[in-house]
Amino acid sequence: MEVWKNIKIKRSFRQIRMEKIFRSSLVLIAISILVLVLAFMLTLIIQSMPSIKALGFGFLYGKTWDPVVNIYGTYPFLLGTLLTSFLALLISIPFSFSIAIFLGEYHPRGWFSEFLKNAIELIAAVPSVIYGFWGLFVLVPLVRSLEIKLGVTPYGIGIFTSSLILAIMIIPYAASLGREMIRMVPASLKEAAYSLGATRYEVIRMVVIPYAKSGLFAGVLLSLGRALGETMAVTMVIGNTSIIPKSIFDPGNTMASVIANEFTEAASTLYLSSLIELGLILFLVTVVINIIGKKVIKRFTTE
């Protein structure tokens, strides 16, 4: 026993040193994550400085983007991004809310609900390049025949097709968050409404939705953040043109897709820098949307 005690003491000094190293490396890594994000932002700001200085706010409302003659106005891309994202959101909301209500309120359990839950997870898991690929070869011809019926120029590709693809891709975000929020509605509240003679629909409309409102809103925000930043699927089906789209069936470009297409060919400093400024705007917008979304969720879940 005495021998062990000596070993114990000798070994322990080593362990105490290791413990100190471990604790400080934990702190160091936490700091480095923070620094990483700050450096991200700083890199984007520094690299977009040339275009911020040269173009100022004209960058945002300039209607022409023509690198050949050094004109960089990003209005077409801002418009394209907003159009595709909000259109996608509009299309996806009935679906994602339906799923949220179905899984959160009507059937939390059962084989079909399990199946639905897995299907939704799978939608989130499929890589965006596969959505783009499929969209290009299956959805585009379908949209083209629709456009022929409607009598508009049958591009096939364009804002509308991108929105359809995006809508599918962002359903899971609002759906799964909405489901969690709806499940958190206290049973006592619902029972109170039932005891007053309310029907299921009335309970959902008067109790469940109002209660889970902020959670559903957060889900929509996260979906939006996702749609704004989505690159590959959109790039493959939007048509990649810098002309301002006149209708939703026209081809266009989003901020993300123009970066993806032109970044490696951008030869001049100003060209590259304006693409990075687009990236910076995209970064800031999605970050703000995400943080608001997360804050809403946090407030909702801790209340």
Partner: protein, 252 residues
């Protein structure tokens, strides 16, 4: 007091601004069982956790005063050494769920990076489990996970794990409150055996248990040490009115 092993001098403990242990002076003699009792929230568990410096793990916790182990202040030693010398058993049995029974007992050595021979290891495991009166029940399943044992067995495994480190003092924080009566009595019997080799300090809110197992009893109330005496005296002839009230069940 002769052969005092632990002495607390004007000891205070806080949670933030909450003063939970107030100016406690207490001498603990070697090879005794000391029961610490009092109504819930009286600071008895906090006091116990101060002895091996577990209290400071909680955010905002502070202490003041001295806690002398063999005349050396534990607050001037590294906590790792303190905890080698002062073992602890918790309210709920908490064997490491990822380790086997054998590895649970030897964890204090193994995870401290102490290389000891296989024979020594086997000897430590066997003698610790013997002392914890668990050997006969688990000797054929040493390499099974400790979490498959019953609650009482798990608690005895935790005792074996603590005494494998050969501590001088063993702290027990309501070790039977999560157990059934049969397991409780087997743990209580064990305490009698253990006091031959160790000094035991047991926190309990159960007066009968304090009376059954301890040589001395300390009564805490509102963070203060109200009375500390030989158990028999305390129960038959308490000096303080508050002790009397507690013993006769006049407050809960």
């Amino acid at each position: 007091m002769e052969n005092t092993i632990l002495r607390s001098i004007d000891f205070d403990a806080y949670f933030g601004d909450n003063h939970v242990v107030k100016k406690v002076n207490m001498d603990i003699p070697k090879n005794n069982v000391i029961a610490v009792m009092g109504p819930s929230g009286c600071g008895k568990t906090t006091f116990l956790r101060c002895i091996n410096r577990m209290h400071e793990l909680i955010e905002g916790a502070k202490t003041k005063g001295k806690m002398l182990l063999n005349e050396e202040d534990v607050y001037s030693m590294h906590p790792i050494f303190v905890r080698h010398k002062i073992g602890m058993v918790f309210q709920r049995p908490n064997p490491f769920p990822n380790l086997s029974i054998y590895d649970n007992v030897i964890a204090g050595y193994k995870l401290n990076g102490m290389k000891i021979t296989r024979a020594d290891r086997d000897a430590i495991v066997e003698s610790s489990l013997q002392k914890a009166a668990l050997w006969n029940e688990v000797k054929d399943s040493l390499h099974k996970k400790g979490t498959f044992l019953s609650g009482g067995q798990q608690q005895r495994l935790c005792i074996a794990r603590a005494i494998a480190m050969e501590p001088e003092i063993l702290l027990l924080d309501e070790p039977t409150s999560a157990l059934d009566p049969i397991s409780t009595s087997s743990i209580e019997e064990l305490l009698h055996e253990l006091k031959k080799n160790y000094t035991l300090i047991i926190v309990t809110h159960n007066m009968q248990q304090a009376g059954r197992v301890s040589d001395r009893t300390a009564f805490f109330y509102m963070g203060e040490l109200i009375e500390y005496d030989v158990t028999k005296n305390m129960f038959t002839n308490p000096r303080d009115e508050r002790t009397q009230n507690y013993i006769t069940g006049r407050f809960s």
